[in-house]
Subunit: 843 residues, 2 copies
């Protein structure tokens, strides 16, 4: 219909009506009058009785640029079953027509190029049969006073009927509005040539609806809208089953990582060059994209998190003494360095020089790996390997955080058997050892201590220990006086930090406060927690152990220069023989780096800027060489910190319509936070006066929190938890629908065994083979192809590259002989809607 | 159809088919053969290709005794959208036909008198048009080899069609099965006279389904079955709207408490006699119903909870000295007793005697109240009053638990400024006061202490305080030595108890372990928590304050006998004048008792044994008299303990089918747990050796937990939380759908103000008017009828008896003039489906 005003439309509708069921002149006039009366919105109060209940709703979106429908069905107040808490906004809706600013608020939600569909229904006492019309206007016309927002109307649905069935008309109107929000149907409505096309469209829609039978459902329940609506593309195919599943639809998401980044180029450094080419265009945006409060929150959090291991113990690393890296620096590289140090001590070799040799070899090997595009082997690292490794690192994090806490008990012993009544007699003083042992005598002699000249009783704890005095008294522990309150206070600080961090982080998903406030609280969760714990600790005054920050830059040891000689005091052949440990070290660093990279580059993270496996490894190699030469700690991947960093930069869509789900948009990819974290780290030296107030147990708590929260995304842990769950309570994991439970359990058990084996090796004397074992994970995964079918593997894990190829072949074969296909022994029932697959004789 | 075997049925179906669309003899024979082939279940693997996929499902229940359909639709494996995690059991389903014991497991779920409906579908290559039949057998026949369970088949649905559309047939079969589980439809199926009745039934069903449009819904989401399915009765009425709501349906639940128990009888003690009559038949079952592990858990928990106030401080009450009931005995009666004690001290009166006088008067007044059926006034206690009072009590509980914990800081001070390095010089010893003040000198004189003769340094803490020595040293706090570790350990114990209790209690709703294990853990939550805390505390050995239990029964004071003389040393007129405080006391005890009773007797609790407002008050009156005469603590209602007791005895239906929701069946009503709690309490004297290990902070933790968990069911707190929530995040409370948000907030603010006022009065000097204020709540509620409409009140609160009557009148009026009715200003849109109501001019 081509019309400019509602009058024209009314006339044309009534003309058309004449053709089918004439109304007569009197009636026609009355109906026309009613149609032109000012309607009121469905969420407005009725102003006067007996006026036709005419309502306008269901704006519909359509791009103007291309003649193709927009995917975002617009929020429609009519759409009750979906937009769950509709009534809450209906008051606001009422005001829409009066206050233009709220109008704009609604307008904001409507995509550009949207067109309206107005649904007008009403009862008329003089009608004895209904007048129904579905009108498409061409071109779309801005009809004033109809929609709440000033957008052009493309469709009109009019229903006027005899008095008394108002609610039914209302429901019909609602149904039409719902229909018009359907992507496929409004496509049909735009293209329909006649009445039959529209009816066919309605039929298609009805075929696809999900039906909840009345006897088993409470219609007053408001169903939350789904997180994601599946693509409607498959509805446009012909072979849809009435239950909404497409016949032969594999429903499979390809979670592998076989992007172009990992294709072998066949040229030297080919991958590296491509990586640089891919990365270069994003370089500027890597800084401009960082303009967000979230980035500030992120680097503050990670600064706090890194501070403890880097500042406190990093300074000690250069000394290469016992105290070195024993802290929460948990990378598997640490295991390697520990072994090396022990080895050097045993055989009287210079640790720093040997380390430099190995480091240089490793750097060389890494660059060889880059040159040969070895990173393309990353495609063999499937979810199985990835998760086993990541779980190990997370567990080490948790374990070490707890160990550190328990360890505090050694420094701050408490008296288990205090008798509160005898507190007046409690004391612990320093006395001269009554019967000094030989080593003590020797020590005194060496340091010119004359025991009898010292006034022992006046010595403080540190002096007493230094002078090898003895502690005597009822308040004395095994190595000195009992320390009151400190240990318990540390325990309180530790767990408060964990609980508060977790609570504040989760606050984003609570129902209180506006989204903005919640997301700020959530982003700054760890920072706020540390801040409040520091304040509480300061207010209480209990002398809990604090972070110790060096206040000046100084060389770690006087007997070493800026550079380390790779040979130094060691014999010449150490430079050659160190190739062997360097090989192990390379495997370890390669695995560590690539697994971390794979986890970060996961499809779920929706990274937009290209990944750079080759470039990253190249940088690791170069930095390894530099660090080794300068005797600095090695530059390697930190799995948990990386995961935490990514998690702290998650970007979600804003939403304000009731029931609208925030969508995960991706990660705020930029280089700024990384830069800031380590710039701040360097500046810590100047912030000693502030940092010295941070209690160590708070930092341990942050570590536990980081380890535990990194575990959350790991599917392996979901599967471990399945062991404790009766089948009926298991969550609706997609793989549980497709793989028999015992197979899922078997898979989990294998993974768990690998994890335990890794842990045992890491802590045992054979720790040196640890890198080999990480590599072995890949081969174990390969072997598992014999136990599990490819279909099962594709649900539980990613497919290995070869099997992927095979799968494609299979699919081709199938198409040819799909009818003659045999049944697969472990196949699901056809109800699930996938096609049967030929069983390979060797499986 | 009357048939005995599948052969008969096949013949009759095919005979019937001849009438409509003859198949021909060859085809007929082939079809008959196929029908008699062994079918396989939908969840069995296909054993050979190309066999007709014949499936049997959807057992349907029907009582044999009466020709009336059973309400419990039986779990049907076909019923995929509802029984959410269907695939998980489908493996078990496969085995059903093989293993009779699993068969029995399924059989258990089927109500007695159930009959089966078998759905048989299949593709046949030689058919060119489908053969469809819906058969009702009369009588029902046990057809072997069809259903998984040996029950008689009443209905058969057969669909055989040409090859190639198998999945569609499958879906049709599934739909028929779903249809047959519908209460209304299988009613139709039983009574249908011909094909048209069946079709009309299907139409009715389709009209009532809830439809999820495909473009806005992900069909792979499995919707959890609803907690409760609404009654299908209204579907049998004619005036249903297509959206499932009945026109003019008020959807109102009458949550008032106007049962026959509260009708005024008009005779002296009439209510009491009726109460006894109602209670008597349940008396035996009150003990037999207690055979359950839950009861053990319940009384162990409540014993632990009551122990602290009753044992520790109950013993002190009789002494009538300062230390009396200051503990966590939080009833409002305590407020009254405190004031009374203070008054007596000030005017030199005998507290015990005056208390006896007041107690006897109060007892008398209570019995007068019982005699006049005053409890029938309880109907004026609406949810508003109830919740304000209950909230107050809960907050007092929480407040006192925390106060007690903080109070521990006074007994166990810690040194805020320990210098860990100077611990060797720390001590705190007792010395002779250098400059004793006068009172000390006097005290020494009185107790024959010669300061110079005492070896002060050797005195222990208690002796030193007793002898008025001074504490000197760096480890000394304000009133004695600093106590190391104890306070922090208490804090850890306290919060661990709270967190662990809450966690274990919630464990029932977690997904781990079988239901049985979970419910045991949940029932024994508090007991397990106390047990583990005691063990940890014992293992650690920190001298935390422990529960002190008297080890012998002994009179609290030597100067009093078993009975107290109401006059004693007080002047005679005190007996008369004490009527005034007794009046206040009566109001208080009446309100306390009745509000608690109303909370316990709430409809939500589904109590089956009649309530006894009159009887309870009578017992309170009698016991008040006895306790007063014997100088025992008064016997009054304990709101929080009562709520906790009820909550610990909640009974839920067992369920094992996936997705089946446990139903709240009611409370395990019995007298056994109450009896046991107080029997155990009495026996505590003999259990001193065990009880003395229980740390007090653990008991305080239990109190906090009880207070906080009692808050959970209170609607008032849900409404308070609404203040912090943006509209889109508000939960789907029924009243939010019907009452404008600002009215809800206004209601909450009024209630909150009342609560704050009560709290202020309770803690201020005017505490004596506290009982009047509780009574005032009822009048405030009455006044609110002027601000809120009756409709709003009926959603937010219960209606007062008068307004209920008015409402009935209104409803009658409405019926008469329903068409001419004006619109109500605050009326909801008609979409919600209720009829308009006449606006009263004075509203």
């Amino acid at each position: 219909m081509r019309a400019d005003t509602l009058e024209d439309i009314a006339d044309m509708v009534l003309d058309h009506q004449e053709l089918y069921a004439p109304l007569g002149d009197v009636l026609r006039k009355k109906v026309r009058e009613s149609l032109l009366k000012h309607h009121h919105h469905q969420n407005q109060k009725k102003l006067a009785n007996r006026l036709p209940i005419v309502r306008s709703i269901a704006d519909m979106s359509r791009r103007t640029s291309e003649f193709h429908l927009d995917k975002n069905a617009v929020f429609s107040p009519m759409h009750a079953p979906y937009y769950a808490r509709l009534d809450d906004v209906s008051c606001a809706g009422t005001v829409l027509c009066v206050l233009p600013q709220i109008d704009l608020h609604f307008m904001k939600k409507i995509p550009a190029g949207a067109e309206a569909c107005n649904v007008l229904v009403g009862e008329l006492e003089f009608l004895n049969k209904p007048v129904v019309a579905f009108i498409r206007l061409s071109p779309a016309v801005l009809l004033t006073g109809l929609a709440e927002v000033p957008i052009a109307t493309r469709f009109l649905f009019i229903l006027l009927g005899p008095l008394g069935r108002g609610p039914q008309y209302h429901e019909i109107g609602r149904s039409i509005a719902t229909l018009m929000t359907d992507e496929v149907f409004h496509d049909v409505a735009y293209k329909a040539k006649d009445r039959n096309d529209i009816i066919a469209g309605i039929d298609e829609f009805l075929d696809q609806v999900t039906v909840l039978p009345p006897g088993e459902w409470d219609p007053s329940i408001r169903i939350e809208p789904p997180k994601n609506v599946p693509s409607q593309e498959k509805r446009k195919k012909s072979n849809i089953l009435p239950n909404g599943l497409v016949e032969g639809d594999e429903e499979e998401e390809d979670s592998g990582h076989g992007g172009p980044e990992l294709q072998r180029t066949g040229r030297w450094f080919g991958g590296l060059l491509l990586d640089i080419k891919r990365k270069a265009p994003h370089y500027l945006s890597d800084y401009t994209d960082a303009c967000s409060l979230q980035c500030v929150a992120s680097f503050l959090f990670l600064y706090c998190a890194c501070m403890s291991p880097v500042i406190t113990f990093g300074g000690l690393l250069g000394e290469a003494t016992e105290g070195r890296i024993s802290a929460i620096d948990t990378g598997p590289v640490l295991v390697f360095e520990k072994i090396l140090f022990k080895f050097c001590k045993e055989y009287g070799l210079s640790y720093l020089s040997l380390r430099t040799c190995i480091g240089l070899w490793t750097a060389f090997l890494c660059i060889v790996l880059v040159a040969t595009d070895a990173s393309s082997l990353v495609c063999y690292i499937t979810r199985f390997t990835e998760e086993a490794f990541a779980s190990l690192i997370c567990i080490i994090f948790i374990y070490e955080a707890l160990e550190k806490l328990i360890h505090l008990g050694d420094y701050y012993p408490f008296n288990k058997n205090n008798n509160l009544d005898k507190l007046t007699t409690y004391s612990c003083s320093c006395v001269e050892p009554s019967d000094p042992i030989n080593s003590t005598l020797k020590y005194w002699e060496m340091n010119n201590v004359t025991a009898s000249e010292i006034y022992w009783e006046a010595l403080e704890v540190k002096d007493c220990i230094e002078k090898r005095g003895e502690f005597v008294g009822s308040a004395c522990g095994p190595h000195g006086p009992y320390v009151p309150d400190v240990l318990f206070w540390c325990v309180i600080l530790f767990f408060s930090t964990v609980i508060m961090s977790a609570f504040l982080k989760e606050f984003k998903f609570s129902n209180y406060f506006p989204t903005k406030v919640r997301s700020i609280i959530s982003d700054f969760a760890v920072f706020f927690t540390i801040l409040s714990m520091v304040l509480i600790d300061y207010a209480l005054g209990v002398p809990s152990p604090k972070l110790k920050v060096p206040s000046v830059f100084k060389p770690t040891r006087d007997d070493r220069g800026w550079f380390i000689n790779p040979l130094g005091p060691n014999p010449w052949w150490t430079a050659v023989i160190s190739l062997v440990p360097a090989l192990l070290c390379t495997i370890l660093i390669f695995m560590d780096q690539q697994i971390t990279a794979v986890i970060i580059n996961r499809k779920e993270h929706k990274l937009k800027k290209a990944c750079g496996y080759h470039l990253d490894l190249f940088m690791v190699g170069v930095m390894l060489g530099v660090c080794s030469l300068m005797g600095l700690p090695w530059f390697v991947a930190a799995t948990v910190l990386s995961i935490t960093h990514v998690n702290s930069l998650k970007l979600e869509s804003e939403c304000s319509a009731p029931g609208e789900q925030p969508k995960f948009l991706g990660i705020r990819e930029q280089r700024f936070t990384g830069l800031m974290i380590f710039t701040l780290m360097g500046c810590s030296v100047f912030m000693t006066s502030v940092l010295k107030f941070i209690p160590m147990p708070v930092l341990y708590g942050v570590f536990l929190y980081m380890g535990a929260s990194s575990l959350k995304g790991i599917q392996f842990f979901d599967r471990v938890r399945l062991f404790g769950m009766p089948a009926k309570h298991q969550p609706d994991f997609i793989y549980l629908r497709h793989v028999p439970l015992r197979k899922v359990h078997l898979f989990t058990i294998i993974q768990l065994s690998c994890l335990i084996l890794l842990w045992v090796i890491k802590t045992s004397k054979a720790a040196i083979v640890f890198p080999m074992m990480v590599l072995a994970l890949v081969f174990i995964r390969k072997l598992m192809d014999c136990i599990f079918t490819k279909r099962e593997m594709s649900w539980l894990d990613d497919l290995m590259p070869e099997s992927k190829k095979k799968k494609l072949e299979d699919a081709e074969e199938e198409e040819e002989q799909s009818i003659a296909a045999e049944d697969d022994g472990v196949e699901q029932v056809p109800l699930e809607g996938y096609n049967r697959k030929k069983k390979k004789p060797w499986l």
